[in-house]
Symmetry: C2
Subunit: 387 residues, 2 copies
């Protein structure tokens, strides 16, 4: 399923009574709508017209300072040679990294499944994928090692590894400490860059059991990407990259041509929300809300799914990933499901090199708990009809 | 002078007592800082969490509708097959258009001088420029016709024309009605697309004397680009493209990979500011403020510049463009001027194919009237020292 098809699916669902487990939207009840006016008054009082004026491509300095503090307090440790740039969502971070780092024909190591729009961006830059499967402990780094050895025999080396080690989208799993160590050792041996995409670790509702790759990195190989979309608001379009000064400087030049700079107002709002502790309040609330919603989905799956259907047990994030019995196509299931009044995203879109026809991604963050139960019930009926 | 050098120059000036005629920032007194809190309260009351949530790549529909009304009321008429997309500033509009329309080796017709970051973007896509000089009536379309004939004899045709017909940046001039008609006739004969970049026509303080190219276009060739940066706030990063449905749809796909969508909050703020008439109030105020500042600069130039220095008499926009006597380099002048406490941007950066060594761009929108007089006085002293 292509991104454009998914967009059409989401538009269709929006206009109907279909329960959507297809989107990837944060819970509306977590968005700081009531605080927003007061935050804006605060930044206008403190900074006046500056909040509406052009600002530096790299970011508003008061925001960047608050962000560095925030990362530190959440165990994301930068190296002495690192710097930070504000981006228009983490989507732009990934886009700019691809633009700056990749040439057609480059090899990119990516998890299978992986984040859809990252796959899309890398594909646009004409790269070749090496897809590494994941299990309950994240990317199977033993397989990565095999692939790296095989490629070396052919005289080839990947340019970078793109990974979402904590609360993986779409798979919901988290990479273990041992695997993280192994990944970094391999990166060192084979001279690879590692993009750590980390939108979710802040709101994990169970212990992740390992620091971010960035904090374990001794040699400046890890490029850390994150976003305010799940800890403040996606509508602000505010993400960031933490990496070596040289790379940040290249991203700055690339970004200037793309959009000059990230919304000044969004950066001031985020700086103020960090200062007032609102972001950390949202994080605590998000853990409770998502834990409850995830639990509802897991219980509903347990209740309504027939034998032979499997699913992940996330420690965080917005999604449960599920496998249908072999031979059952999730695209065919979607047709039946839509008739029964529930939508989800077929999993093949998340496979960079094809496959995954029997997988699906189920979102629990946006629907209410009632909708989750009813949606999974309808989905269970659809699966039974197909079996 | 490269864009990166200009950035460094602006950083340097920011931290000193140098009067800057180098930037391109709107007048701070025009930014609706006092209205902002109330606008935000208004959109939160009306739309709740939607103002902080993800929104469609093409734009928030309530914003797009308000924008279409606004364009209509300002004489920008779309064709029946046209559509509109919101972009992260008009910078992203230009970037996405380059990404969607241009291949390496394509020929792009561009004014000489032209908008710096547009030149940069097109150059990144590996195009060849055909530079057409401008005079007091804008692009000299007779020269364009000659160039098109010459290219046709070589079996080549440009893919598109990039023009800023109203209140040109950096030259400050406006294309006459006859030239606009001629340009569109040529576009028709030679099957060219035309990008009309129009950030300034809304705030022109003298009559422009011609409708936008978009409103004169019968055959769907004109791609209209504009921005809220000069009529509301640059910090919101909110621009737009109006063009054929097919092109908008391609831009939508490209934009999804770049940044998913434009800030939801920025779009709601702009929709509300349009609805409340705040944008039209700013426009009226901007005309008065910029007319006074422009007049101050022209009077100061008349007072302090020695014989042999020429400059444009803008009908709008943010800049006066100036020619030094032949043989005087504006880069050398900048060194002297910085010593005397005034900065400007040397004009060669705005020449897509080289040249313009004796030209400079002077900004009147950001400095106060007192700073304009003092800045031009210092600049006049610097020129006299060099002569």
């Amino acid at each position: 399923m292509r991104a454009s098809e998914i967009r059409e699916l989401l538009k269709l669902v929006e206009k109907s009574n279909i329960i959507s487990l297809a989107g990837g939207l944060p819970a509306p009840e977590l968005l700081p709508v009531r605080e927003l006016t007061d935050i804006v008054r605060g930044v206008v009082d403190s900074y006046g017209w500056r909040v509406l004026q052009y600002s530096p491509t790299k970011g508003v300095s008061i925001f960047l300072e608050a962000l560095k503090e925030f990362m530190k307090s959440h165990n994301v440790h930068l190296g002495p040679e690192d710097d930070v740039i504000a981006t228009t969502g983490s989507q732009e971070a990934i886009y700019l990294l691809a633009r700056v780092l990749l040439d057609p024909g480059d090899i990119v190591v990516i998890e299978e499944p992986s984040y859809l729009t990252a796959i899309q961006v890398f594909r646009q830059y004409g790269v070749k994928f090496v897809a590494i499967p994941i299990d309950d402990e994240g990317m199977i780094t033993e397989k990565l090692e095999e692939e790296l050895k095989r490629l070396r025999r052919e005289g080839r080396t990947p340019k970078l590894v793109y990974t979402m080690p904590s609360c993986h989208n779409p798979a919901g799993v988290t990479m273990s400490y041992e695997r993280r160590k192994h990944l970094l050792e391999l990166a060192e041996s084979y001279d690879l860059l590692v993009i750590e995409d980390d939108p979710y670790s802040y709101i994990a509702f169970k212990p992740i059991g390992a620091p971010p790759l960035k904090s374990m990195d001794d040699s400046g190989r890890v490029i850390y990407v994150s976003t305010f979309s799940k800890i403040l608001s996606p509508g602000l379009r505010l993400g960031w990259v933490a990496a070596s000064k040289q790379l940040i400087s290249k991203l700055e030049v690339a970004k200037q041509a793309v959009d000059l700079h990230t919304s000044t107002l969004s950066q001031y709002i985020a700086a103020e929300a960090l200062k007032r502790g609102i972001v950390d309040e949202i994080i605590e609330k998000a853990k409770r809300v998502y834990e409850a919603k995830c639990k509802a989905m897991l219980n509903a799956l347990e209740t309504y799914m027939p034998e032979g259907v499997r699913w992940t047990k996330p420690v965080g994030g917005l999604f449960v990933w599920s496998w249908l019995p072999k031979g059952i196509s999730s695209r065919r299931l979607l047709e039946v499901a839509l008739r029964k009044g529930v939508a989800f995203v077929p999993g093949d879109a998340f496979y960079p090199c094809g496959g995954g026809e029997n997988t699906m991604r189920l979102n629990y963050s946006f629907p209410s708990i009632e909708e989750i139960w009813e949606g999974v019930k309808r989905l269970g009926d659809a699966v039974k009809e197909l079996l």
